[in-house]
Amino acid sequence: MRHYSIPAAIAASLALSVLLGSHALAQATQADQREWVRAGQGGVLPAETAFNNADGKSGIFNVKGAVDMKGHPFFEVLGTNGRACVTCHQPSDAMGLSLASIRQQWQSNGGKDPLFAPVDGANCPNLPREEAKSHSLLLNRGLIRVGLPWPPQPRNGVPTEPEFTIEVVRDPAGCNTDPVYGLTSPKPTVSVYRRPRIAANLKFMTYEVGPFNAKRLAMINDRDPFTGKYMSMNIMSDAREPSLRTQAISAARDHLQVKDEPSADALDRIVNFESQLYAAQVDSRVGGSLVEKGGPEALGPRNLDKQERGLGDNFGTPLFHSFAMWNPASSEARAQREFRESVARGNDVFFKRPFYISDTTHINTVGMGNPMKRTCATCHNSNMVGTDLSAGWVDVGTTNLPYARVTLDNPWSEAKAELPLFKITCNAEARPHPFLGRVIYTQDPGRALISGRCVDVGSIVMGQFRGLAARAPYFSNGSAATLRDLVDFYDRRFNIGYTTQEKEDLTNFLSVL
């Protein structure tokens, strides 16, 4: 394996990461071996440090300096199942959770590792904890079970009347038809399976906005009950929590199984920690340092700290700034030079290459027309992170048929469908889904499980583009195993016709963010 140098400050911090735990660095010398931070292990998370992944190294940057993990509520066991926030938001995974880490923990500890807690680390809580097949969605696709009440709970004090009925068509995991945990149980619950989001770069994700939603103008944004402020609704796959504080409370209840809500002090410390933390790739296995002086100002966690939130779908403030210094690149090593030039071209493809964006709810339907001729950056428009600056739930087809990736059962293969399939039938008077009509088949109704709206079926909040190399797989349902799979999805979905070179350039570009 080829190694590249990283800046001295990061190298020094890397040495400090010995404090993270007993086994970490020995394993970190192998590609894609992850440094796992165990709940309650103590130690210090350095102000700045880097972690290996298959594409190079990802880095994190604590703006306020090193963090003593001992006694810190983000890192300590808060509930009854041995987990902490860090269990699913690992520093080595850009504060998300990679499949590499999940499998590593299974190999090390099997089902007794708190990550595999039955409540949501198993396909259903009543499955035998020690068996790998009980955790197949976590082990195969990196998915955590999210059990949501049906019908939806009232929001902001206003009852939510669902516009549709939901039926379970297929239930490979068994939870949606389970008499105790399923849709017809005494506490009717819809179980969907989703990837954890990254707990970093959050100033770009959650912020105060005006009352009316910029994309769905007849909708009021949710308020943070602690501040009364209208919030951007861009955290969580379904935007069900308006702020980091409410998210921490619900995560402690649902994922950590706390008996009592965390104290105000603990919540303050969790939110403060998350709010000062930046994560991004810092080193490319082929492209070398991504944070060297004179390099692209979009790259690395320090640049995320320097930049402000804003709309980047324009030539005045392009969201990933400029890669001109890499096109042509001046590196002496040919492989490095070619990689950097590929990244620069990838940014151009992302920013300037138009295609027909079609049948995408909350994009085409917000006054743009269907189809529209635009670029990736039209929807992924938020400076530095590539989310949508407006409340960003979108049905691009990752969970709704016919576009969602499915495994078709057949007699010649053992591959079976893993995700549930729901049939959504919209009420006669409801406004139907704009591109799928009144009957929709979906693996995850997404935002519609919160809003109760037909138009929201399959809509998922966009995820950040940062630290991607550290935290495969991608999309909320883990349906893209690699960045190339992700690019291929879009190429297929919109009939873009990317050349092989364009696909490679886009993949390389995404890998350095």
Partner: protein, 290 residues
Amino acid sequence: MSRISSHRLFTIALPLALLAGSVGAAESQRLTFVACPVFQDTNTVPCWLAEYQGETYFLGIQTDSGGWTPPLQGHQVLVESVVTAQPRVCGGIVLASAGSVFDKRPSGKSAGVDLPQPPVISTMRELDSSCRTMLPENPRYNTLEPRRGPGPGNAQIAGLQPNAGAPRAAAEPLKPPFAAKTFELHYEFDSELAGLTINKLQEALKYADDIKAKAVEVVSHRASVKLSNGKQLDEIPKIAELRAKELANVIRMFGLPKGTELKVRFVADAQVGNGIDDWTRRRSDIIVTP
């Protein structure tokens, strides 16, 4: 009155001047019809067209969100328009707004001439899989100078600046005596979402707060459209109720001043269309009473 589900039912001929494309003679001619929208690409942004009774009409071009609302393929579109005398754009006779509240700034030029305010467009509620015509770029139609091209724009949209949502300077407080005021919200056909005139709701709620209103009353309406073939096209029977319900929920989520009563009602009977300003009757009134 029965609803019309397909544009193929429109068989009544238009005046000959229109059919002949004699737009000068038909300058003030109103044209209201339902058809599949047609996507015509150009070397910049696409044009939106619609075919009606053998003629092609130009509706508008792709632009930023918040301008006009281009059609959605997969649905028919209701067009409420006047015919202009402008040179054809993308091969279509140019239709314009009949003076709607949805008007925004021009979306660009064609062959150096400003494009008019686009007609009032309503995406029909249900799917129509036959509406999928996409035409490739045709050099003959490469005359557009859009306000925004097919890629990144030239500047940030003011409303989405980093500090959008930051508190604004307080306006001078209103002084009594206060008067009752009515704020009108308008809708696309068969839609309960007043997206394009939601600013009127904001104004109403601000006024209610400023004067600590005694009551805020929502009255939602249902309307018909008189098509150019003479037929009346009714909105769905429940639309007035849906509009009232939707608006009331938004107001509850937004919150009213303490002591302000929210009253909600709707008028289910469709108001008959006249083919001139039918969009004005697809409406909710918000009446703010001191």
